[in-house]
């Protein structure tokens, strides 16, 4: 066969979302790739300019549909920075708990989608089954399974229900036992190792050059984790290790994510213990007064303008399950943010696709792209 371009997407089982990977192949060999994004562009940054600060939270859940709470946290950190608000400590712990549960949910979801790309159907269903327990927990304290709308500027919407921490610990016990099974099904399988070892190699220097972050970067042996290097929320009070591997290939990414799952469980146990011991308010008491009635009509001028509220620029960066996400919120003294800009880690990870796909086979695309953990919602925003 001579060279030809094939479109993998936007309707293709490999893509896990709406995007198109144009691949130039010769036989089964990949000569060039060109990712095409934008099929899921909803203009979240533009819509945010017309919304109250709290209303943007509803958009954040739709940014990444497997890591909604992490994105809420990202936005809230930047918004509070821009609006000069400090949340109470318990709210910080609750948010960190959200982050880590979200990481567990997202990584399990990643595992399910990734093994399904390799043709492994049963671990896919095991993964979906176990993620459901995390979603049950989310539902019990946020009220929804995927679109949580839990965090608010200045705190969180509600405190935990009674008996939550005990149930959460039971779920963590169950999940920890399942992680062993996951490893048996993947690492214990010679075919899996044959498929994944030495595949999609992206060295640490290339990762840094091309802005690749998250588990992909750590799988290349680089010990960078914002939770440790630039602690936000209460990560500086938690005891955890940064998972790194040195293979820089698909197996290494698998190992890093699995280790992160274990570390997340370790952190969650500490957080749950803290939450049990320290009751308190989950919402800032010294909230600016306008946030009490943020939705009512405000007259011709903006709420904040009328109150001479200080302007500000907020910048935040969190270690999202997929990598480092950043938000940049400009507060110009109106009740709407003037400009919201998000940096999605998957955006940068996909943009380097040429670096880790060219030279492999067509059959390697699903495992490699699977190991990138693509979430198109946050790429296109």
């Amino acid at each position: 066969m001579s060279e030809m371009w094939i479109n993998m997407g936007p309707q293709h089982p490999m893509t896990h979302g709406l995007w198109n990977l144009r691949v130039k192949i010769e036989g089964e060999l990949i000569l060039d790739v060109d990712p095409e994004m934008g099929y899921l562009h909803r203009g979240i940054e533009k819509i945010s300019e017309d919304r109250h600060y709290n209303e943007v939270i509803t958009l954040m859940d739709r940014t990444c549909y497997v890591a909604g709470l992490a994105w809420e946290h990202l936005y809230i950190l930047a918004a509070e920075d821009a609006l000069h608000i400090t949340p109470p400590e318990r709210a910080e712990y609750l948010r960190t708990m959200c982050d880590e549960f979200q990481r567990v949910g997202s990584h399990i979801m990643w595992y399910a989608a990734f093994v399904q790309d390799l043709g492994l159907m049963s671990p896919f269903l095991y993964g979906m089954r176990d993620r459901d327990l995390v979603l049950d927990l989310f539902q019990s304290y946020t009220g929804a399974r995927m679109t949580y709308e839990y965090m608010r500027v200045g705190g969180v919407r509600s405190d935990l229900p009674l008996g939550f921490t005990d149930r959460a610990r039971r779920v963590l016990d169950w999940l920890t036992a399942r992680f062993v099974e996951y490893d048996q099904l993947c690492l214990g399988s010679a075919i899996f190792r044959k498929r994944c070892d030495g595949l999609g190699v992206l060295k640490a220097t290339d990762c840094v050059e091309h802005g690749v972050t998250g588990p992909m970067l750590r799988s290349a042996g680089m010990k960078r984790d914002l939770r440790r290097d630039r602690p936000y929320a209460v990560y500086d009070q938690l005891d955890f290790d940064v998972a790194v591997a040195d293979g820089a290939d698909v197996t290494a990414r698998y190992l890093v994510r699995m280790e992160e799952l274990r570390q997340s469980v370790r952190m969650l146990r500490q957080i749950l213990d803290w939450l049990d011991r320290h009751p308190g308010p989950a919402m800032a008491e010294e909230l600016p007064r306008w946030l009490g009635a943020p939705y009512a009509p405000v007259g011709k001028e903006g709420y904040l303008l009328k109150r001479n509220y200080p302007k500000g620029v907020g910048f935040s960066s969190v270690e999202e399950p997929h990598g480092e996400a950043q938000a940049y919120v400009v507060n110009e003294g109106t009740e709407h943010p003037y400009r919201v800009k998000f940096r999605s880690p998957v955006f940068a990870n996909i943009s380097a696709a040429r670096q880790y796909l060219v030279g492999y086979h067509v059959a390697d695309i699903p495992p490699i792209m699977g190991s990138v953990d693509v979430c198109v919602g946050e790429v296109d925003r």
């Binding site: 679109t147 919407r157 690492l187």
Partner: protein, 259 residues
Amino acid sequence: MGGAVEAKEKPNENPILWVARPMATAAKQFAKSLVRPSTIVYPFERLEDPKFRGKVAVESGRPIGVGEVWDNYRGVHALNIATCISCNLCAFSCPDLCIDMVTVPGGDPKHPKKCPQIDYGKCSYCGFCSDACPEGCLTMTTRYELSVTKRADMVYSPERLHEVFRSKLPMNPIRLARPENEDAILLDPPLCIGCNACARDCPTQCITMLDVPKPDAKPGEKLPKRIWKEPVVNDSDCVRCGTCISVCPKECLFWGTRK
């Protein structure tokens, strides 16, 4: 804070046995699910049924479900028409603009009573409306089955929402606490023309028009011919809905801190 841990495979997960280990794991799961698979046969088995939850938890060994706090679920709204004060806050707070205030019988002809009508084709179940509702009459229930055959059926009139309320479904108890020191409605007296619009439309009737001393008129300024009145807001009854601000023709009401 810990250091870095090298993620390595455990020795017992090496593929020494080629494919035997994954096959053994699958067989273990097979044996387990012969007793009871984790599937919940949805229309026949429901998670919100506590009896069923216990059964599944025992049979499959999974810490399944959301326990006793299923009530927190944000599903279809329930509206208690009797206590609704037509304050409009739910409609203002809706990010998707899916709430319309429509007239319901029961108000007096001059000031018809208006209650929210929700278009579930647009609703995103964020719960901002029930957070904003000052009277607690608009809450969210655990009902989640909404499939209909016509798009028009997605629109729930206040009466339909009231039916949901009467069906005694568990109500979502979560409500965002309102800060103690909320802004109050303040008046910019020189601008006020005493038109009574705010007091007329105030849903809680917390605005009274009181006679005030006639302000000093500047030379040549035209004054209204009626008796001079000025709105006075009772802060403890006020729900901060802002209706008065939006109806004020002169924009003389605004948010601020009461001295």
